[in-house]
């Protein structure tokens, strides 16, 4: 009876674990009447656990020396950006395309609007990127660090791309 109860509790525990953790969701919607929709929810705690089972060399990438230097030096720039009041920092209107970079709260928003319903929205969580950059002390980019950084993000649309009737959205929920 105790075993049965334990087994029955497993889905509940799993559901609670998922509910209490961030989830990266990739949502791809094809336009048109026969368009497919693919939604891939990735619980970040599972991603982190899975990374622990993969040989470490397969989850690391070498960062070029110049990029390491830029990352080390950009920490101050990210600090300044985090402290900066909300504002539209850059706007480029070029014929049929408009690019806007604005700071809103802890997010750097990049918007690109092109002709024929092309639309790109990228939201960069400044604090998370800053913490990530400051934590990088080596010339290796570790997938586990990326996942750990994503776990700090909540309810944020990271990427939203519309091209005609196609729509791709990547968000943390």
């Amino acid at each position: 009876m105790a075993k049965l109860a334990a087994l029955a509790a497993l889905p509940v525990v799993a559901t609670l674990a998922v509910a209490n953790t961030s989830m990266l969701v990739v949502d791809v919607k094809e336009g048109g009447p026969s368009g497919h929709r693919i939604v891939v929810p990735v619980p970040l705690f599972l991603a982190q656990a899975a990374l622990n089972m993969v040989p470490s060399h397969a989850t690391r990438a070498e960062i070029p020396a110049e990029a390491v230097e830029v990352m080390a030096r950009s920490a101050g720039l990210l600090d300044a950006l985090a402290d900066c009041p909300d504002a539209e920092l850059v706007r480029v209107e070029d014929g049929n395309e408009t690019v806007v970079i604005e700071k809103a709260g802890d997010v750097l928003r990049i918007s690109v609007d092109g002709r024929r319903n092309e639309q790109v929205r990228v939201n960069v969580p400044i604090g998370v990127v800053r913490d990530f950059v400051k934590a990088q002390g080596s010339r290796e980019l570790r997938a586990a660090d990326v996942v750990a950084a994503l776990k700090q993000v909540s309810n944020t649309d990271l990427v939203d791309v519309r091209d005609g009737r196609d729509h791709v959205r990547v968000y943390v929920w």
Binding site: L77, L81, D83, C84, D86, A87, L89, V92
Partner: protein, 188 residues
């Protein structure tokens, strides 16, 4: 236009407006570029000077080291910066005067010192191009304050942060460029 843009870029590094105004709030650097022909492109940039300073700090060392640019590292070996320092020191002693006037067939270029500012003016005689650059002496002083073959961009930007108002205005028949500093986070 290429030349005027180059002048504008140089002025962005060196220029400023009346130094008498106080630095009571955080300054913002604004840049606006507008094309009146073709795609009629518009570019506007609004950056707190704190970010400009941080960007200077973040620049790779091979470009800028401790806020200073080493001219010889950038293939400017023929440039003797000491000559410029000497000329600048002499010009400062000269008091208010027209330092340079070049009258060509189609344009007039003047560089004048008035009070605490150096004024650069370029005017096409047919009115198709006009450049207005104000260079406060404190910014130029700071720029040339570094020793040897270095120029101190960081110190110049610190001086620039104290300034408020128009820094550069360039207009020609196809486009206009304006660079200014104020304490607003948006363009008006």
């Amino acid at each position: 236009m290429k030349r005027t843009l180059t002048l504008a870029a140089a002025a962005l590094i060196l220029a400023g407006a009346p130094a008498a105004l106080a630095e009571t709030a955080s300054p913002w650097l604004h840049i606006r570029v507008e094309e009146s022909k073709g795609k009629q492109s518009k570019v506007s940039v609004n950056l707190p000077m704190a970010i400009v300073h941080a960007a200077l700090e973040a620049a790779p060392e091979k470009v800028i080291r401790k806020g200073r640019i080493h001219l010889r590292d950038h293939g400017e070996g023929d440039v003797d910066i000491d000559d410029f320092r000497r000329i600048w020191a002499e010009l400062k002693k000269a008091g208010d005067t027209d330092l340079v006037t070049v009258e060509e067939e189609d344009e007039t270029v003047t560089v004048a010192k008035k009070g605490d500012r150096v004024l650069v003016r370029v005017d096409k005689k047919d009115g198709s191009e006009q450049v207005r650059i104000d260079l406060p002496t404190t910014v130029v002083d700071a720029f040339f304050a570094a020793p040897g073959d270095e120029v101190d961009l960081k110190a110049a930007m610190v001086e620039l942060s104290k300034l408020r108002g128009d820094v550069v205005k360039v207009t020609d028949k196809d486009s206009s460029v304006r660079i200014w500093i104020d304490e607003k986070n948006a363009q008006q």
